[in-house]
Structures are given as C-alpha cells and as structure tokens.
C-alpha cells in the first residue's frame, strides 16, 4: 500500500520528473512494495542506477543510492557487493542503459552469478534523449533514428540473461503490478544474479510516434498482448507468437554465488593453500 512505502521514498522530491503516463513510477512503486514486504533493512539496502529515464528512480528512493555513468551501474554494483557482501544491492537500469552501452557488463555480471537484483525498466526506446531506437525496440517500430521503421531484431533480454548464467529470470509489465511485485520478491529471495524485466510504457517518445495512443490505450495493449508463462506452456508456440510472456521464466537453485566463492578463496589463501 502506498502509505506503507512512503517512508522508503524521498517524498520532498516528488512530483517526479517522468512524463504524464510514464510507467517508471509504477515499476518503482512495485519495487518499493517488494522491498517493504520482504522487510529489508533500508540501511542495508543500496540502489545503483546508470543513466536514462529509468535511472532517475534512485533520486526518489530513500536508501543509499548511486546514480552512476551510462551503462556502468552493474560495474558499480559489483564493487559495492564485493566490498560489503552483507548489503542488499539493487540495480535499476533501462533497456538502452542495460542492454546496449552496458550490454557487456550485463552478460558478465550474469555469468559470475553475483548476488545482485537487476530490474530493467523496458520502455522500448531511449526516452530521455528524444526517442532513438534501443536494442529492445521491436522490429518495424518508429523512432527518431528509424524514421522508416526499425530494421533490427530486438533482444529477448530474458533469454539473454538466462543464457548468460542468471539464476533467476522474471518478467512482468506495468499493467500486472501484483505479479511485478511478486517476481521482484522472488528475485530478492534468490541468492545469485536475479533479473527482472519490467515492461513499461512510454506514451510520449514511443507511443506517440508509433500511434499507440495515450497511456490508458498502451495499458490496454499490454493487457491484451501478454500471456502468463503457465498458460503459454499449454497454448503452445503458435498461439503465443508475438505475445509478451510474463511470470517466473527461469529459476536455478543451488548454484554457488560469487561473493561466497570469493570468501572461500580468501580463506583458502590465508590458510596457505592454493
């Protein structure tokens, strides 16, 4: 509930900078709900973000927050986690920030299986800089850098995370807020690299250019074009083609986490072993 999570927000800085109808506020609220429900100590929680619309979220959250360089949020977060493994480290990133300029940090952080909770706000566009296409812009959509439609195929960022070695992968949308909170909670529970793709809406830089209507129409589009992963298994690939699959997509239990391995290495070397 909103009144429960207000203590986790920097209320004095509101209203936020995001455009009317932007889904980022909804994702941030779901994230704070998950942190509140899990009862994480705010003094032991760190949120790291890069650059972009989504990354402004750290300015409104009342934890120790780091607003870092473009694409480098995961590198900073890896440093924070290695220095103090007892902290709960969250990374707030956008589709451009996390998958384009920070793409290498993304796959390698997932490969190491370091205990970070990464929440990617996917609005399909670089909103802050005026609407350039990102690696997650669907084929055929318009952007300022794709005035005749985007030719490139987008990443399936959840499959990329899974293929790179992430031990928890989930996806939800800003329409499915309860599920979004639940997948973030499951990501917090997972000790290892957890990735959540939050499909957001950008009515100004993306929706307007692609004639998707205002925020309520984009919400309706999300409602009609998503299938839960459990239903998708029964429906088969043909019926779910072109739909967004939501829910807990992958969970691998029992894989050793990086900071734990690192601690073991330190103990081993101190004892004179090799």
């Amino acid at each position: 509930m909103l009144k429960d999570i207000e203590k986790l927000m920097r209320v004095k800085r509101l209203p936020h900078i995001w455009c009317p109808g932007c889904g980022n506020g909804i994702v941030m609220k779901a994230m704070l709900e998950a942190i509140n429900d899990k009862g994480l100590d705010p003094d032991k929680t760190v949120v790291v973000s890069g650059i972009g619309c989504s990354s402004r979220a750290t300015g409104y959250m009342n934890f120790d927050t780091l607003h870092t360089m473009h694409g480098r949020a995961l590198a900073f977060a890896t440093g924070v986690k290695l220095a103090k493994p007892e902290l709960n480290v969250f990374v707030v990133t956008g589709d451009g920030d996390g998958s384009a300029i920070g793409g290498n940090h993304f796959i390698h952080a997932a490969r190491r299986n370091i205990d970070l909770n990464v929440i990617m706000f996917n609005n399909n566009i670089y909103g802050m800089t005026g609407g350039q296409y990102s690696p997650l812009t669907p084929q055929g959509r318009f952007a300022t850098t794709a005035p005749y439609g985007n030719l490139e195929r987008p990443f399936d960022i959840c499959k990329l995370a899974q293929g790179s070695g992430a031990t928890y992968v989930g996806r939800s949308t800003v329409f499915h807020t309860k599920l979004l909170t639940d997948v973030i909670k499951a990501a917090i529970d997972n000790k290892g690299f957890s990735f959540v793709e939050a499909v957001s809406i950008c009515p100004i830089s993306y929706g307007r250019r692609n004639k998707l209507g205002a925020a309520p129409q984009m919400m309706k589009w999300l409602k009609e074009n998503t299938v839960n992963v459990k239903a998708a298994e029964k429906l088969g690939a043909e019926k779910t083609a072109g739909k967004i699959i939501i829910g807990e997509l992958y969970h691998e239990a029992g894989t050793l986490e990086y900071t734990e391995l690192y601690d073991r290495l330190i103990t081993r070397v101190e004892e004179g072993g090799r």
């Binding site: 909103l2 936020h16 995001w18 109808g21 909804i26 609220k29 807020t177 309520p216 919400m219």
Partner: protein, 64 residues
C-alpha cells in the same frame, strides 16, 4: 468510517495521464476540464486499489 474520506486524491501532483479513470472498474473516478482526476462516485468504490497501484505519480491513496 467516513466514505467521503476513503479515497484521497492529490490533484496538485496529478499529471492528467488518464490511467486511473480508464482502469477503474466501478466508474468511481472521472476527469475534470484539465483531464485531472476527480472522485465522482465515492460510494461505488470497492477498495480494489487498481487506481492506487497504477497511478505513476503516487496521487491516489485508498483507505486513508
């Protein structure tokens, strides 16, 4: 409980995106001439919190 007070709306922070009154299943919320949210029919509210969950600007609080 005073039914008038169970929906708290911050019209100053509202950016008139229209999500809340489009998603409300009971027709409790409506827009004013600026497109901002107003509580039209508070008695119909079932406290489902769809508007509270989907307001991107944290302007609606249900249940005081």
């Amino acid at each position: 409980m005073n039914k008038e007070k169970k929906i708290e709306v911050n019209t100053k922070g509202c950016k008139a995106c229209g999500i809340c009154y489009a998603l409300c299943p009971q027709g409790v919320l409506d827009k004013d001439h600026m497109g901002k949210v107003v509580v039209k029919n508070p008695d119909a509210c079932t406290q489902c919190r769809i508007c509270e969950d989907h307001c991107p600007d944290y302007c609606i609080k249900i249940g005081g």
